[in-house]
């Protein structure tokens, strides 16, 4: 109720005095220079063909051994109970500090801990970590940790689990999660309150309530896997990472809608991993991007989630361009001094972007199916082809995410220093860092530009590789597999060029 009043109040204020246009934190990076962009773009086109030619050679399948990281000494130490408990306590501590800072603290962006903890560490930081290391969200998710603690307490008191354990309606797929992601996108990109610590705490509180109710009704693993936005978003990104979450239990995998492979194992299945007893779990190493090669098609609602991740990162970049402002002005919005405030049109545009991406990808998948199965009996329908190939687009969006956020992240993460000393912006100076000013030149802009371009080229190459590997599995002959990749290659080059184009645009608004 308090939140509703606050929101209504903020909405009125936004009409009168214009809140900050930026979701959170300013970005002052210069657009990537043209020559770098042209070089990057050319590299992308050339490498696409080099990759295709490379796949023309017969490949030798080598199965590298997969050591379980949970049993090697370093892994055992990292996975030991004291370390895990310490990590969980830290996560819950940060979550509570952020909520308190939002509700009680003064709304000073550069000191209040709420935006730094939620946006810099919790969103962009965890997205980077998911890509670089693996699905650590399953470990640090504060909603899960607090629910588990409450569950343990409840069991001690009553002997029963803290859940109605209703069966989650499986035919809904991850629809509740999709709605949560749309809500999150609205709040982050469209609402105009994302940088305001009080609104942030309100939204986090409402989100917490929904998440805990879902866990209470359906049990934590089922709800997290279907209705928790970040388990889904970070889960998609973590498939790119070099660590695989494996569950060696056919029954648990099947129960979690994750089809087991020939060894009866399933990989990167959050629900199964949470359900499985410790001795059935393994964390294994793999090369970056290999986790995106799937043998079973993703269900429709999961395809939508993956496309939303792609649309989200691209859309965020697009919102910084002058073209976005022109589009909104064309749609009848007024450009204010600090940008455009159009929550409804922004959210609808995001949905439209997802829709356009879905449409394009559907057409490409239909073409792949047509070319790949020319003269042969189709093994998969178009939707299944989409479900098999959709993850191959993830490396490009991961690369764009890195390119887009590198500059922002290296300045914003420095706000941890003042936020730690004065988390509620009351004027405290706990560690003497209250007046610390972030160094915006900590990483030179040239380094950031080069990293951005290199990341996008590498992302593109991994994407082409993944799609080719999937094609070799899906289509019966090598020739068919290679030909089928022409439409996919065009889509990828288009998506990559769009990313490069956005990096070359000055940041407006």
């Amino acid at each position: 109720m308090l939140c509703r009043i606050l929101f209504a109040g903020s909405a009125l204020l936004a009409g009168g005095t214009a809140a900050q246009a930026h979701a959170y934190g300013e970005r002052y990076d210069l657009p990537v220079p043209l020559w770098m962009n042209v070089a990057g773009g050319s590299a992308v086109v050339v490498l696409s063909f080099v990759m295709a030619a490379w796949f023309l050679q017969p490949q030798k399948e080598t199965r590298a051994p997969r050591p379980n990281l949970l049993v090697v000494p370093a892994g055992r130490l990292l996975g030991s109970a004291p370390v895990l408990v310490a990590v969980k306590i830290l996560s819950v501590f940060l979550f509570i500090v952020a909520l308190l800072a939002g509700f009680v603290g003064l709304p000073d962006y550069s000191r209040n801990a709420a935006p730094t903890i939620f946006w810099v560490i919790g969103w962009v930081g965890l997205a980077f970590a998911s890509v670089l290391f693996g699905n650590i969200w399953l470990l640090v998710n504060p909603w899960l940790i607090l629910f588990d603690w409450a569950d343990a307490l409840w069991r001690r008191l009553t002997g029963r689990h803290l859940s109605f354990a209703l069966r989650y309606p499986r035919r809904l797929g991850v629809l509740p999660g999709i709605l949560m992601i749309v809500g999150f996108t609205w709040f982050m990109l469209a609402s105009g309150f994302a940088g305001d610590s009080r609104s942030l705490a309100c939204v986090a509180a409402v989100y917490s309530a929904v998440t805990w109710i879902g866990m209470l009704v359906f049990g934590a693993p089922a709800w997290l896997a279907h209705g928790e936005a970040f388990t889904l978003l970070f889960g998609v990104l973590a498939r790119f990472s070099p660590t695989a979450l494996r569950v060696a239990d056919r029954a648990i995998c099947a129960r979690s809608d994750c089809p087991p492979d020939e060894n009866g194992e399933c990989t990167d299945c959050a629900e199964a991993f949470l359900l499985a007893p410790p001795q059935k779990r393994a964390i294994t190493l793999r090369a970056y991007g290999i986790g995106l090669i799937v043998q079973h098609p993703l269900p429709l609602s999961m395809i939508v989630v993956v496309l939303m991740v792609l649309a989200l990162v691209a859309f965020e970049g697009f919102m910084d361009t002058a073209q976005w402002i022109e589009l909104m002005v064309f749609l009848g919005e007024i450009e204010e001094s600090d940008g455009i405030h159009a929550p409804v049109k922004t959210t609808l545009s995001f949905l439209a972007a997802t829709g356009i991406l879905f449409g394009l990808f559907f057409v490409v998948s239909a073409l792949m199916r047509m070319i790949g199965y020319a003269g042969a009996a189709p093994k998969y329908g178009t939707l299944q082809i989409m479900g098999l190939f959709v993850l191959s687009l993830v490396p490009i969006s991961v690369a764009y995410h890195v390119a887009h956020y590198l500059y922002w992240f290296h300045t914003q993460i420095q706000f941890v220093v003042p936020a730690a000393s004065d988390p509620f912006a009351f004027g405290w100076d706990l560690f003497g860092g209250r007046n610390f000013v972030p160094d915006r030149a900590a990483i030179p802009l040239k380094v950031i530009w080069h990293t951005a371009i290199v990341a996008i080229v590498i992302g593109h190459v991994i994407a082409v590789y993944v799609a080719h590997r999937v094609a070799l599995d899906v289509f019966s002959t090598r020739r068919a597999a290679l030909l089928s990749q022409i439409p996919m290659l065009l889509l990828m080059v288009g998506y990559t060029m769009t990313s490069l184009w956005m990096l070359a645009q000055p940041i407006m608004g």
Binding site: E26, L30, R440
Partner: protein
């Protein structure tokens, strides 16, 4: 001019200051001169590198051609403001604020240490603190 006396190899005591130098072979004389001037070259160069921009606000706006200012990283920059109305200006990133009034020009002076694209905004005083009231220009500092 102790320098001349010290570095001249044939020590010829002389009350005249110039004689120490005058007594040196021509090549050394040039070298000495160069050594004396050298420390001032960076300072001179820097002094020349101050990039001044005269920005005249009319009714709180700048002419279209002045909405982006490009400088190179390391340069010293002066934005010299005049305005027909009182206004407070804030350069983002460098976080420099100046107040300009009619007849009272103000200068935003900085060394462009950080590369990037930084907006200059008008601040407007309202109840409950200031809020940002419009972007006047972007200062682009290129590496």
């Amino acid at each position: 001019m102790k320098v001349g006396g010290e570095s001249g190899p044939p020590p010829r005591p002389s009350p005249l200051q110039g004689e120490g130098v005058a007594g040196l072979p021509p090549a050394r004389r040039v070298l000495l001169l160069a050594l004396m001037v050298l420390p001032f070259i960076p300072a001179l160069a820097q002094a020349q590198e101050i990039r001044r921009f005269d920005l005249a606000l009319k009714a709180g706006e700048l002419p279209k051609g002045q909405r982006t200012i490009k400088v190179t990283q390391g340069e010293s920059v002066e934005l010299r403001w005049t305005s027909d109305q009182p206004v407070r200006l804030h350069l983002h990133g460098y976080d420099i604020e100046v107040a300009v009034k009619p007849g009272e020009p103000a200068v935003t002076a900085l060394r462009a240490r950080i590369a990037g694209r930084f907006p200059v905004e008008k601040l407007q005083d309202k109840a409950g603190g200031h809020h940002h009231g419009g972007r006047l220009l972007y200062l682009e500092v290129h590496p």
